[in-house]
Symmetry: C2
Subunit: 328 residues, 2 copies
């Protein structure tokens, strides 16, 4: 059952080095598929999360610990893990060619996109200028320096609530500023927010601008007055208004996206393109959790395994030489 593929040709390429990618890699290893995983920052976005209490089986771990557990699990198997970003993907014959940012190129019969998301920016004046000088996107990363300061979180999701809860450990006061009528965290986090004397929720309010002086943030400009004033002094603001799916590479291959730019998959984690599978935060699942993404990754891996074993694949390699592989 040893793979007889030449150097540089893989059964499966996993694009994304978060928990979802690692779960796919672990299963690919168990399936004896020749596997390469690309991740420009191993661990993925979950390592920005302070406490994870909802990955079934782990009562309470840090995001980093969870990511490490899944990475180590994947490394139990014979899979290649490359700390490289994939810069380009193209169809080649009826397999795929990937290039990393260092210029390396790889062929693969199947691809699993587990590329996740990037943070959505607020898009207001001052946001770029004061980035990392009072404007932040990760409480765990940047919160601890704001001890006893006045902090704001912009957003109303569960993530926004969790960011505020974390920041309340450092700051003297944390405001959640949300455009909607009610914040909508998981109930357990909603209660924690409600009980926390340091946190105040300001709803139906938008941040219009971020102003500073002497090279750091000074205040937010709100679109309606809070206690009679649109000027809202803070020492830092944490933007938590959602994420954008990293689906450009898939889109370039003709993979169908929904209106939010998420990859559309079916229950077997198949996309509309044969040989292309996807899982995790980048796909169109409504309720996205680490655990649902990991489940999708396992389905994706199985679908890829079935595909590889039932499809005659021809990779047009380098000078046009062909690697034919028929297991059908």
């Amino acid at each position: 059952m040893e793979s007889k593929l030449p150097d540089g040709i893989y059964d499966i390429a996993i694009v994304g080095g978060g928990v979802v990618g690692f779960a796919a890699a672990m299963y690919a290893g168990r399936f004896n598929l020749k596997t390469i995983l690309f991740g420009d920052s191993l661990g993925g976005t979950i390592i920005l999360t302070d406490v994870v209490e909802n990955y079934p089986g782990f009562k309470r771990v840090t995001g980093l610990e969870l990511a490490k557990a899944l990475e180590e699990h994947a490394r139990e198997y014979d899979v290649e893990i490359k700390e490289e970003k994939v810069a380009k993907v193209e169809g080649s014959g009826n397999c795929y060619r990937l290039w990393d940012e260092s210029g390396g190129s790889y062929y693969s019969k199947a691809i699993i996109f587990a590329t996740g998301t990037k943070v959505r920016k607020l898009g207001v004046p001052g946001e770029e200028e004061y980035a990392n000088r009072g404007v932040h996107y990760c409480a765990l990363c940047d919160g601890p320096i704001y001890k006893d300061k006045a902090l704001a979180v912009v957003g109303g999701s569960d993530s926004a609530a969790k960011e505020a809860l974390l920041l309340s450990q450092f700051g003297r006061k944390v405001y959640i500023i949300y455009r909607g009528e009610n914040i909508r965290p998981e109930p357990i986090n909603g209660e924690r927010v409600a009980r926390n004397p340091k946190i105040e929720v300001i709803t139906q309010t938008n941040v219009k601008e971020i102003k500073g002086k002497d090279g750091k943030i000074a205040h937010l400009v709100l679109d309606k007055p809070y206690k009679g004033n649109n000027i809202f002094p803070v020492d830092a603001v944490f933007i938590e208004i959602g994420h954008l799916p990293l689906s450009d590479l898939a889109k370039g291959l003709g993979v169908k996206l929904n209106g939010k730019g998420e990859i559309i998959i079916d229950r077997e984690s198949k996309t509309n393109i044969p040989g292309i599978f996807a899982a995790g935060d980048v796909v169109d699942t409504k309720f996205k959790q680490a655990i649902t993404g990991v489940g999708e990754a396992v389905s994706a891996c199985y679908s890829a395994y079935q595909y590889i074993n039932t499809t005659e694949l021809v990779c047009l390699v380098g000078d046009g030489a062909q690697n034919r592989n028929s297991k059908a």
Copy 2:
């Protein structure tokens, strides 16, 4: 956000006390839903598995350890766990009424079926007669008593291979008897079988009968000769030919099943009946793993939460008194 439901009325009833049910219960607890879980044998079928190496995050645990981890995780939250089998379910108003086998009855706005499967029997003469006297369905449970004996596993799945691998630790010889052309385990287990000097695979062969004397098994009767003889002496045979979905309760409510009797769900773990959700081995997922079932459980729980919060529910309780609940 405290539930104001009267005694005996729940937001959500989870039927099934395996890992899938526990994952649903844990999330239901986090959602602050008033939750009851029924399981006649807590832990579910995974506790019959010796080694689990493919639940992402746990490199290698026993099935029992994994079940315990998920049970303890669920018990972190305010959920009621009842070691009772559900005997009957009926629609009541537009909520549901459940009866346990001890005669207790409960109302619930939503149900998640995580009922799993039961073992499929071979259906040959002698199987019932020698049950537990040489005919078994769980190597982990019953294998250790057959030290240095000649054992057979009937089946060709990954589970059959894993049963044989486990039995090879006890028996002097383990035969895998499979009707198909090739056994089809996960490749990693296929290799382990191939490398194991105690295991021999006999394909394209059926067991027609199980014969015994003096109250215990003596030999199998094969449908074609092995080494010139249809009589195949063994000390025990382990049947591992698959499982049957435990979907009768759901079927009784009008839930659609597929040809295999599995509950048909969508990507949000919804069935065709409002308020009824399902996850895990009982549903129509093709590649069923503990982790995919757990992912489905989390989706089911979220769908139930959405349903409960957007539907006016009326439970016709006891003497006809109504509990109206409108959160929409």
